[in-house]
Amino acid sequence: MTSGQVMRIDAGAAEAIAIGAGILGTGGGGNPYLGLLMTREMLRWGANISLVDVADVPDEAVVCGIGAMGAPTVGIEKLPRGDEPLAALRALESHAGRRVTHLIAGEVGGANAMQPLIQSAFSGLPAVDGDGMGRAFPELQHCTFSIGGIACTPAAIADCHHNTTVFPRLRDTVTLERFARAVTVQMGARAGYAFPLMSGAEMRRTAVRGSYTLARAIGEAVLTARDRHADPVATILGSTDGTLLFAGRIADVERRLVAGFARGTLRLNGSGQFAGTQAEIAFQNENLIAWTGAGRERVLATVPDLISLVDEQTGDPVTTEMVRFGLRVAVLGMPAPAQLKTAAALAVVGPAAFGYDVPYRALPGVYGGALLLVI
């Protein structure tokens, strides 16, 4: 999508975005399935959902991040009422004395990718074709809004009864994460959130542009390959300028729960052009680093570049929860958005920030490749 255009979301586009969001989740981010169902329900009720280009949001616009937070296991049982994030947004508006004009996703990778679409349907507000990560990361401080110096407060969260809590001022995103978590547990461990609140100018300076265009293109590539029984991996790579880092069978998975995060490593035995070689991937919810060679001999890619596993046959994303012995996967590498590659960003989302003494060497190309270069 280029400047001046508006992306109208129908059921087909929503499905493609959900698939692409799963792949951009780089192993984490949660499953977009329920979000896709909710989007479809809103469309069935006749809602209009539109996305506008980042470049088309005026300076004086009021943009707010929205999504859902809480325990994933609770999320599949206590399904949402649907408009919890909007209830949080309304509370935030009355606190701040400003009306929000545009919605934006915190992270396009995974389940929360669908929230701007759903809340756009509820509110009639346009959502932005962009987000704060261009992928998924485990914590709030990893987002480009935070890295770019946008204050995380005021922030608000709401539950299914529209009980709301506003956090007028907290000193940083880590503190917000802690406070919001405590209240979310009281709300039944699931809540809708609204933050950060920013001007159009601030959003344009910090947001990753075109991430929904990219998610949609990836999803459409998968769907087309499925229809034509074509190779989905080649189709995804062709439409994103990604690199095939490795392909093979998962030979070993090792997992441990560290401070609430699913950390672990998985080992792969190569097949096809990678036959006879091995690879290893370290993950913490999301995939962090990929090496090749039996003993981590050469780094293939690291965060913040995107390392995504997809099913070799179907192109479906393979999350770090799903990986297990015997699965045949392709490991895709995609360049990170420019905002995540600055020195300031690398201090937060680079390999060292996750405890790995490995230098960041950027994959060739730009986020979204030719697809996003033309906009």
């Binding site: 169902l37 329900e41 809103m42 949402p80």
Partner: protein, 513 residues
């Protein structure tokens, strides 16, 4: 006391198979066509197998039946009752009503309607909203008007507390006598939509379940058998006929499970890859410790997502009837299917099939040797071998060299050379009745899956309580109290919650006395 024998029966779409076992020894096997009324086919198979084994009917203590009847009814959208769902959870869950994401023709077939009312629970047992009897009474009026025949009741976090579901069930029983009522807490585990879907399918199947179990009972009576009757469930264990009558969905996917369990028994190995080669497809699954590996993804039955644990099967379009094309470079997925006896060359037909290739290459002796060009047969043979080797590789759960067990009519496709990368290929005798044998050998189980707060109970006490409940379930299902084994204790800490909530899954399996 005379030795009590057991009979295993597999009621398939085409054939009804029966076997008699004395302990773990196979005495006799029989195969008869499945009949529309089910009863006659079972009676014929029972009569044949009893005659062949030459045993007294009084010596038969138990009959175990595996059937795909209920799965097929959903797949074919037939024999389904007009079904409603009452869900407790409002205002939560409102955007995703019951029957969301069902194929429209299944919703039409059950005339599905959903009502969401206040109630339901949080993960820690607090109420989301207070139970509201007036809203239930309103719902009952609406259900009466719609003339529903069955109702599924679901509540948010009923695996933590089923109190609201039970209250609604009691009100329904009072107000709508004759309407079947199913509580989701009796059906599945955490995951509201999938559990509710399974409960709704179960409600829709209650009519067929009553008729079918009656037919089973009638077949036993007609045969003069005074035996306990069990049906097999998706995890390979048994439930009593009375239970199956109430919970027919628990039989979903019992077919492949029985087939794999039977294959393990027939070949006397516990860890293997089972290849079930039919006429059109080959199903591959992994056996570990004699049980099929379970799929981790949600399993759709007739297009409806459920969260049953089902065997993790990989299927490819290769079978005895697969059509050979491109000069032997391509085999399947098109197949002549059940017409193999008229269409394939070995039987004088015009179509080159995988079976023709097997005969031409000397892997099997069957019909007349087909006139196949040498290079076509060689190429097609190599393609079949490559497809099977790849399938085995994809199904493996460890890097070890596992034996492969071949069952099904298409097993003749595999030559004496075996399968590339596989050390040993086993072809058990009676592989054609593996399903019925798996049914006859099934055990009983009890299972608990719930979220517990370890802030209130200590960890060991929580596991002990759950294990005790699972043991009691297994004993209620018929297990001998002194022959129970706890086969699974899973504790999954719920990310995000303040370090005290865990999802606890305990499974106990036992032998019948």
């Amino acid at each position: 006391l005379p030795v009590k024998l057991r009979i295993g029966v597999d009621v398939g779409g085409t054939n009804t198979d029966a076997v008699i076992l004395d302990g773990r020894r196979l005495l006799a096997a029989a195969k008869r066509p499945t009949t529309a009324d089910v009863t006659e086919g079972i009676v014929a198979a029972l009569a044949a197998v009893i005659a062949e084994a030459d045993v007294s009917r009084a010596a038969i203590g138990r009959v175990m039946i595996g059937t795909t009847h209920f799965t097929n009814a959903v797949v074919q959208r037939r024999d389904l009752r007009r079904t409603a769902v009452i869900r407790l959870g409002a205002p939560a869950t409102e955007l995703l009503p019951p029957f969301v994401d069902w194929p429209v023709d299944v919703v039409a077939a059950v005339n599905g309607r959903g009502i969401i009312v206040p109630g339901g629970f949080e993960f820690d047992g607090r109420e989301i909203s207070a139970f509201n009897a007036a809203s239930i009474r309103d719902a009952i009026v609406a259900l009466k008007t719609a003339d529903v025949e069955a109702v599924a009741v679901s509540s948010v976090f009923s695996p933590v507390s089923d109190a609201h579901e039970r209250r609604v069930a009691a009100m329904l029983a009072d107000a709508l006598p004759g309407v079947a009522v199913v509580c989701s807490a009796d059906i599945g585990r955490i995951g509201l939509l999938e559990r509710e879907n399974a409960a709704a399918l179960n409600a829709a199947l209650t009519g067929l379940a009553a008729r079918t179990t009656d037919a089973f009972v009638a077949a036993l009576a007609e045969m003069g058998l005074d035996a306990e009757l069990f049906l097999t469930q998706n995890d390979g264990t048994l439930m009593r006929a009375e239970t199956a009558r109430r919970f027919p969905v628990r039989t979903f996917a019992s077919g492949p499970t029985n087939s794999m369990r039977g294959a393990a028994y027939l070949s006397a190995v516990q860890d293997a890859i089972v290849l079930d080669i039919g006429g059109t497809t080959t199903d591959a699954g992994a056996l570990t410790h004699g049980f099929p590996r379970e799929a981790c993804a949600a399993v759709a039955v007739g297009g409806v997502r459920t969260n049953f644990r089902m065997p993790d099967l990989v299927s490819i379009g290769l079978g005895g009837g697969s059509i050979v094309s491109a000069g032997g470079a391509s085999v399947g997925p098109q197949s002549v299917g059940r017409d193999i006896h008229t269409q394939s060359r070995v039987f004088g037909g015009p179509v080159t099939t995988a079976t023709d290739v097997a005969v031409a290459l000397g892997r099997a002796t069957l019909g007349e040797s087909p006139a196949l060009a040498d290079d076509v047969a060689r190429r097609a043979g190599a393609e079949i071998d490559a497809m099977l080797a790849d399938l085995v590789d994809r199904t493996k759960v460890t890097a070890d060299d596992l034996p492969v067990i071949l069952v099904g009519g298409g097993a003749l496709l595999v030559g004496a050379g075996g399968i590339a990368g596989v050390g040993s290929v086993l072809r058990p005798e009676h592989g054609g009745v593996a399903n019925a044998i798996g049914a006859a050998l099934a055990q009983v189980s009890g299972e608990i899956d719930r979220v517990v707060s370890l802030a209130e109970t200590d960890r060991r006490a929580a596991i002990a309580t759950a294990t005790d409940q699972a043991r009691r379930q297994a004993i209620d299902a018929g297990a001998a109290p002194d022959r129970l084994t706890t086969v699974e204790v899973d504790e999954v800490p719920l990310a995000y919650l303040p370090g005290n909530a865990v999802r606890l899954h305990v499974k106990v399996v036992g032998d019948l006395p």
